[in-house]
């Protein structure tokens, strides 16, 4: 078997473990604005590969808490960075994964998130007001994990998502924006959490999602664009939620993801031959989990977290991934 026909779990585990050791690398310091997300991506990928212990629990929790923004009542991406909904969701996901939500003032964080909802129903990313359907997903996911979903005005939120729906069944970042697989995921997953999947034109959207697969097996995010490993997750998660994951050629997609692995030092890239990073490593592993790849743990496509955790919190929605293969 060539190295690229199987998932190189030990290499990817050591790749993720080593990410924190790159402090003599300029790129490490230039990416502090993504650090909280990066830890969530790394930790979740490790959980799915069965190596949650590879990142020290206490160190991780200490880092998350060091990013608390006391003025805002939420989390920034790095110590002394401003609170933002993107880093706040990642922080909550990390704390839930480590069963450490008791570290934070949950009602205060919920209040911060709710304060970002705009009159139209969309959420802003922070107090400076950029809006995007991504932030609706962050808010809905985070409020659900915090047990504060009942504080949300569901109809107002759903009405904004409804206005972002396009003729192709997909959703964009804002009203009028072109359908994009990642925006489809955030809208569909938010609707799933809110039990409002009847808002989705399921046949049309599943057709559009299935059309994302290219002859080389990879998936793109929009018509006539290049394939990219991260779309494996955006598209597959949406199809799992719509119970249509079999509309993709899973064998070809599995090979495509495996071919984007870096076989010397680990990590997965956007496509074969490119530099790996933790974002694509996480979404590649997540995609393989949904495709039933042997030896991986189940990933919940709605919350993008380990499935057993979501079940134990009583939050599981009715999605369906491919059955886990034994070899």
């Amino acid at each position: 078997m060539s190295s690229e026909s199987q998932l190189l779990i030990p290499l990817h585990v050591s790749y993720i473990k080593a990410l924190g050791d790159n402090k003599d690398d300029l790129a490490y310091h230039m990416t502090t604005h993504l650090r909280m997300n990066a830890i969530y991506w790394g930790l979740t990928a490790l959980c799915i590969m069965g190596h949650k212990e590879a990142l020290d629990r206490q160190e991780t929790i200490d880092f998350v808490m060091s990013c608390w923004d006391e003025d805002a009542g939420a989390f920034g991406a790095h110590p002394d960075h401003d609170a933002h909904i993107l880093s706040t969701l990642s922080a909550i996901q990390i704390l839930v994964t480590h069963d450490a939500l008791d570290m934070i003032d949950v009602p205060r964080v919920a209040k911060y998130i709710l304060s970002l909802q705009q009159p139209s129903g969309v959420f802003a990313g922070d107090s400076f007001g950029e809006t995007d359907t991504r932030f609706i997903y962050c808010a809905v996911n985070a409020l659900s994990l915090l047990g504060h979903l009942s504080d949300l005005d569901v109809e107002k939120t759903v009405s904004y998502i409804r206005r972002c729906k396009n003729f192709d069944g997909g959703f964009g970042a804002r009203i009028g924006a072109e359908s994009h697989a990642a925006q489809v995921f955030v809208c569909v997953a938010a609707l799933a959490i809110l039990d409002k999947l009847d808002e989705v034109d399921q046949q049309t959207l599943s057709w559009w999602l299935a059309e994302r697969q290219l002859p080389n097996g990879g998936l793109n995010g929009r018509p006539e664009k290049l394939e990219d490993v991260c779309y494996s997750f955006w598209v597959l998660s949406s199809l799992s939620i719509l119970n249509k994951i079999s509309w993709i050629d899973s064998e070809k997609l599995t090979s495509f993801i495996l071919s984007a692995q870096e076989s010397e030092n680990g990590g997965i890239a956007d496509r074969p031959g490119d530099m790996p990073d933790v974002f694509h490593t996480h979404f590649g592993v997540a995609g393989l989990s949904l495709l039933g790849y042997p030896g991986l743990a189940d990933l919940d496509p709605v919350y993008c977290m380990p499935a057993d955790l979501i079940v134990s919190k009583g939050l599981r929605k009715s999605w369906k991934a491919l059955e886990r293969r034994t070899e």
Partner: protein
């Protein structure tokens, strides 16, 4: 990281690269620490503002520094300034981010900052008439020009399209909607495979038909002709088939309405 090729480098080459980077890291971290502590101390000075320029030129993804920059303007630079000075400050802000955008066309924070700048352009220079919108009009016209340049460089950049829609929707003096139709025609004729332009076209038509500004039946005949040409050019391109699907779907509705109208007029 997207589209960055993996290059095999020897241990020695990597070591030498890291060595060269150490001085840069030291400068970068010193500047970062300085700015984050000034921010904590609520330093709203011009000096701090200029330091944010330096840091953002190196790293335009540093959202906290964009936030700090806006706080400096709101709390330090705007209050003692006349509307004219605020307008020229924002204009130079837009110039600075134009350079940043060319190097980083997909950084959300830069687009976001431009939108914030536009929203803060004061009314003026005059009290009323055309002059009342003078500054805003000049800034909006320039934004439309910039976003067209960005879409010339990458016709599928969805951040640029989103920004374009924002600029068009918020123009102080609205352009006729038909001119956006002309723009999409131009983009599609340059490249039939540009689904972003087809998508925009479907939105513009829907709005023009719903408002009664254009006759759907007549438009649809012309659109089918355009679609047919595109299909002949590249039958395997998804963009045009997707648009065709929309055209057929939307057509039913308007053709039915049209047929009913005709029926009504015959009966009368």
């Amino acid at each position: 990281m997207h589209g960055v090729k993996r290059v095999g480098q020897s241990k020695e080459a990597l070591g030498a690269k890291k060595q060269r980077e150490q001085a840069k890291i030291k400068d970068y971290l010193a500047l970062t620490d300085d700015l984050l502590s000034r921010k904590k101390d609520k330093d709203w000075s011009k000096e701090a503002f200029d330091l944010t320029t330096r840091l953002l030129q190196v790293n335009p993804e540093f959202y906290t520094i964009w936030n700090y920059r806006r706080s400096i303007m709101l709390n330090g630079l705007f209050p003692p300034s006349s509307p004219e000075e605020i307008n020229s400050l924002l204009a130079s802000e837009l110039s600075m981010t134009t350079a940043a955008l060319k190097a980083h066309p997909k950084v959300y924070w830069i687009w976001n900052h431009r939108q914030w700048c536009l929203e803060n352009v004061p009314e003026g220079p005059g009290q009323d008439g055309a002059d009342f919108h003078g500054w805003r009009k000049a800034n909006w016209d320039r934004e439309l020009y910039v976003v067209e340049k960005m879409l010339d460089a990458d016709a599928r950049n969805f951040l640029a399209w989103n920004y374009r829609r924002y600029v068009l929707a918020s123009m102080p003096i609205q352009r006729p909607k038909v001119s956006e139709l002309t723009y999409t025609t131009r983009k599609i004729e340059t490249n039939f495979s540009n689904f972003s332009a087809w998508h925009q076209r479907s939105k513009v038509y829907t709005s023009l038909w719903d408002s009664g500004s254009l006759d759907p039946i007549k438009c649809q005949e012309e659109e089918f002709e355009l679609v047919r040409n595109a299909m002949y050019t590249d039958p395997n391109d998804q963009s045009v088939w997707m648009y065709h699907r929309w055209l057929v779907g939307s057509g039913k509705l308007y053709i039915t309405v049209g047929a009913l109208r005709q029926l009504n007029s015959t009966a009368l």
